[in-house]
Symmetry: C2
Subunit: 169 residues, 2 copies
DNA sequence: CACTTCTTTCAGAAATTTGTGAAGTTAAGG
DNA sequence: CCTTAACTTCACAAATTTCTGAAAGAAGTG
């Protein structure tokens, strides 16, 4: 048993899950380090870890942690907070916040829509290709609205199931 | 004006849209060649092109077309059909089929769920981390159902807006 | 304001991915 | 069955991405 001092958690079991879940994220298109860091945070009891802890668990350099965290913060999957009275930082999965990040590909959708609108205009709205692009555009606009409504339903469903707090608020 | 013989389409305008839309897809995580091939098919009047046509428009080798098409076919973004009495093949965006491909990350979702279930068990359902994983799992299960319902609503919405055929049904 | 602790940046080594040409395979047409 | 058109596979070169060590940059502390 690889049991780190006093945590009551088998480091190897944790690591096994972290790596296997990260691998799935990678396969779905996420880059490796952000995926591993995110998986580690997700399976930490506190829901947050320091740079040093991440480096140790994942066996990566501070530089790699820094890069991964920057990406995760930009995409709102993780938030950073300063430990008061210390230059140490904690990175945290913020309860529900990251579901939104996952579905809120809003910026992406918007850019696709813009590109498609361009296409409809330049290929001609009355050509077969133009009509196809129009329909695609309509789909994305539909999607955008649906995602919003869906997240609202999830919030309700979640409160019913897990209570207004949820794991680690 | 770069007008290819008799098509009535300005090749350069088409190309400009194809490349810019493909670029957006790439930025969202799709690999370059599949993105370009898909964009080209999407903006073709017929909704389908041959390998040669794709190679010419995108300036890529038959090998590259082959690889891209294999990927697109596997992910059901594009279907392949044989031109009768010829060894030439046509690749086609199949009207509505590809919306489903886009949202039906079903296989991916299922694998994430499996990995999470593993995690809940191995970290302990009654630990803080285990509870967090449980909630994540619940979210994906919720998502799965929602996507299904959403596509049904889209089908209805689409028929109302575009008629039962749609562009190149 | 020096000291220490933590984080970020950066240049480059290492690994991975991508696209090509060339050879191989399949199937239509004579 | 031989020829030829079309697609696929494969090994490799090129481009890109990823991660690291080293150095520089912040930010608390005495």
């Amino acid at each position: 048993m690889t049991e780190s001092a006093g945590t009551g958690r088998d480091a190897e079991v944790v690591s096994r899950f972290v790596e296997s879940f990260a691998a799935q994220l990678v396969e779905a298109g996420m880059t490796r380090m952000p995926a591993r860091v995110f998986a580690a945070l997700l399976s930490s009891d506190a829901g947050s870890m320091t740079s040093a802890e991440l480096g140790e668990q994942l066996r990566i350099s501070p530089a790699a942690v820094s890069g991964a965290v920057r990406y995760l913060a930009q995409t709102h999957m993780v938030s950073r907070e300063r430990e008061p009275g210390s230059r140490r930082e904690r990175y945290r999965v913020h309860g529900d916040q990251w579901y939104e990040a996952l579905t809120n590909r809003d910026a992406v959708l918007k850019r696709w829509e813009a590109a498609l609108r361009e296409g409809v205009t330049s290929l001609g709205a009355d050509t077969p290709a133009g009509r196809r692009l129009s329909e695609t555009l309509a789909f994305f606009e539909f999607l955008e609205g649906e995602l919003l409504a869906m997240m609202e339903r999830w919030r309700v469903h979640r409160e019913k199931t897990f209570g207004p707090e949820g794991p680690q608020g």
